[in-house]
């Protein structure tokens, strides 16, 4: 059995076990153990045998270990803060089972060489995350989950239609291979050009909904704000990257043909719209988790622009940076919200004075998301602006303006959340594990950024190569 298959099966078996035993007091640590067992498998997953359904291409070899790592830290964070969510036995079972099912489905979607399997995996991940977003059953949570389900339901329906069109474009001759990415890419210009272009439109709209690209982003802020905190980190850290990777695979296939609509330009246009709308919208947020969800829309938009104009390295750095830094932000904001008893920005202030390790960690993570050095997002944004300036100066100016507005908005939020007079509630102790995972994420984001060792840089370069 390949490492890729073992990884997916491990989490699916974990989900089944958690559905039965997830209410036990030790279940939260079993959840951590399962995620930890997955990490080495995620690192080992390599190219599968000829015709294998699960196979790690260079893109998956970058994104699967990243997803495995963020999944593990989210499990740790969830284990130490679970009491604050006040789950009863049934909800604890549902929560842990969905957590594992989500990890398994997310890995399967990244590793799938088969469009049909990828679609099923993305759908399963959607169902698991919707159930968790609704878990508190407050009207706000149900509203968030309903919006998530209806929008993403339409999104994955469009993606399935795109999948069907791509299979039609491949023609009957390819037989059982006609849903395989590798086979579709190998066909290249032999694909039916009109159908492949049309298929890309549907796949972009479908998976773009899941990636939170404007104008299909409406579910993002509410879903991030109403579920358990660990889920916000999982959504921003894992799901968005997986959905964007699905778009990128579709783009790679569609670029093989002489297309009437250039796939890159479409992706870049959605990206620019996301950056501009999010940079303005995040100034008006009062809820801290909604603010950072909008920031994720902006970051995915930047990555889409980078991939769209043909700068995949910048895009990948952006995806990795956002996954690591945004989940760090959610860990810290979630902990602060637990202490303050509210996730409104006005109710949280003075974290640095009261809880230096938590406060500085949050301040650094927000600064990193805003694009300050030494983190991966900084490198990505510099590279993106240079590439854009070389190809389309007007685009560079537009994206640069969006970046500046969003960065200023984020730094304003960082000032409000981290500095100023400390609240009395912040004197209560913070679990040490929260601080550890927070700083671990910061360290790794710096490792993918300015301090990247050769091995990490090579991982990014190889992944960028397949998207070129």
């Amino acid at each position: 059995m390949s490492a890729a298959l073992a990884l997916v099966l491990l989490h699916l078996a974990g989900a089944a076990a958690m559905a039965a035993l997830g209410a036990a007091a030790w279940a939260r640590w079993a959840n951590v153990a399962l995620a930890a067992a997955g990490l080495p498998l995620a690192l080992l997953a390599g190219p599968g045998a000829e015709g294998a359904w699960l196979s790690a291409d260079p893109l998956a070899r970058l994104l699967v270990p990243l997803a495995g790592f963020v999944g593990l830290t989210c499990a740790v964070y969830s284990a130490v803060t679970l009491d604050a969510e006040r789950f009863d036995a049934a909800r604890a079972r549902l929560y842990h089972a969905c957590f594992q099912a989500f990890l398994g489905a997310n890995h399967a979607a990244l590793l799938a060489d088969n469009l049909g399997l990828m679609w099923v995996a993305v759908e399963a991940a959607t169902i698991a995350s919707v159930l968790v977003v609704a878990i508190h059953r407050t009207p706000a949570a149900i509203e968030a989950a309903w919006k998530f389900f209806v929008l993403c339901g339409v999104g994955i329906a469009l993606a399935l239609f795109g999948t069907l069109l791509l299979a039609l474009a491949a023609g009957e001759a390819t037989g059982a291979e006609r849903l395989s990415f590798a086979a579709l890419r190998a066909l290249g210009a032999e694909l039916d050009a009109g159908l492949a272009s049309l298929a890309f439109l549907f796949l972009l709209a479908g998976y773009g909904t899941k990636a939170g690209l404007v104008p299909l982003h409406a579910w993002m802020p509410d879903a991030h704000a109403e579920g358990p905190v660990a889920v916000s980190a999982v959504l921003s850290g894992l799901l968005l990257n997986t959905a964007l990777a699905a778009v990128l695979r579709a783009k790679a296939v569609a670029e093989g043909v002489e297309a009437s609509v250039p796939p890159g330009a479409l992706l870049a246009a959605l990206g620019v719209a996301s950056v501009l709308l999010a940079s303005v919208a995040l100034w008006r947020r009062r809820d801290a988790r909604r603010l950072f969800a909008w920031s994720s829309i902006e970051q995915i938009g930047l990555a889409a622009v980078a991939f769209g104009i043909g700068a995949p390295l910048a895009g990948l750095l952006q995806m990795a940076g956002n996954a690591l830094l945004k989940s760090a932000v959610f860990f810290a904001v979630g902990q602060a919200a637990i202490l303050a008893g509210s996730q409104q920005i006005r109710d949280i202030s003075g974290l640095v004075a009261a809880r230096p390790a938590l406060g500085w960690g949050l301040a650094l993570a927000i600064a990193g998301v805003a694009g300050l050095p030494p983190f991966a997002v900084f490198l990505a944004e510099v590279a993106l602006l240079f590439e854009a300036a070389a190809r389309a100066p007007l685009l560079a100016v537009t994206v640069g303006a969006g970046l500046a507005v969003a960065g200023a908005g984020l730094l304003r939020a960082a000032l409000r959340l981290c500095f100023g007079p400390a609240r009395a509630e912040f004197a209560r102790p913070v679990p040490r594990a929260v601080i550890v995972v927070l700083w671990l994420h910061l360290a790794l984001a710096a490792l993918c950024g300015v301090f990247a060792p050769d091995a990490v840089a090579a991982l990014f370069a190889r992944a960028a190569e397949v998207l070129r």
């Binding site: 679609w119 759908e123 407050t138 149900i142 509203e143 309903w146 009957e172 849903l179 039916d192």
Partner: protein, 222 residues
């Protein structure tokens, strides 16, 4: 079997599915909506079975059987139960007048024809071409229905209609691998959604289940 008969019957069934989509847009009562949905599900199952007869592929019969059991019988019965239990059978609340929805529906069908026929001009067979036009029309009409209905049950019906359109498209593609698996996965989504609505209604008793009422709970105070 003669090629032209196979084509004509497939065409007829596909047209029936599209007609059912227009009836869904036109219906003003929730119970009637569910009845039309059951007919549409049965027609899609028939389309799959007919392709099974024409092409002699066994897995198409399995797809047809599952589609009939789930979309033609089970899901409509469940929805009807929800409606009866909660006395929800009243006029469908629309965000767009029915006449305007029908006009928009015709425009969407025209759009599908304009989009699909040139795109499939190159390689796809005649059956697949017409089939994909019908499938895209049914899909877009389902999305239109979801966008223009205010309450949860008609929105769910819209999503199931979208899935019906997808299945209609999938059975028309000769030799599509994973057809059965994909149709089952799509079905799971529908079943989870219906179960979700059921659970939601039972637990919270938001009696109208008007999802615009949920809009008040957006957490940011509007």
């Amino acid at each position: 079997m003669s090629g032209s008969l196979a084509y004509d019957v497939a065409h007829l069934i596909g047209g029936g599915v599209l007609l059912a989509s227009f009836l869904l847009l036109y219906q003003r009562r929730v119970a009637a909506l569910i009845g039309v949905l059951a007919v549409q599900g049965a027609l899609v199952a028939l389309a799959a079975a007919w392709q099974g007869v024409v092409r002699g592929e066994a897995h198409l019969f399995a797809t047809a059987l599952i589609a009939f059991a789930a979309k033609g019988v089970l899901v409509p019965l469940l929805l009807q139960r929800i409606v009866a239990r909660l006395a929800l059978d009243r006029a469908v609340e629309t965000a767009l007048p029915v006449g305007a929805s029908l006009a928009a529906g015709v425009a969407l069908v025209a759009l599908s024809v304009l989009v699909m026929l040139p795109a499939t001009a190159g390689s796809a067979g005649a059956l697949a071409r017409v089939d994909m036009v019908l499938a895209l029309s049914v899909l877009l009409l389902g999305v239109l229905m979801m966008a223009t209905r205010r309450t949860a049950i008609p929105q769910v019906v819209g999503l199931i209609a979208v899935e019906n359109g997808l299945l209609l498209g999938a059975v028309g593609i000769a030799g599509l691998p994973l057809l059965l698996e994909l149709s089952i996965a799509a079905l799971v989504l529908v079943l989870v959604l219906v179960a979700g609505v059921f659970a939601l209604l039972m637990r919270t008793r938001l009696d109208s289940l008007d999802v615009t009422l949920l809009g008040r709970h957006r957490g940011e105070g509007g």
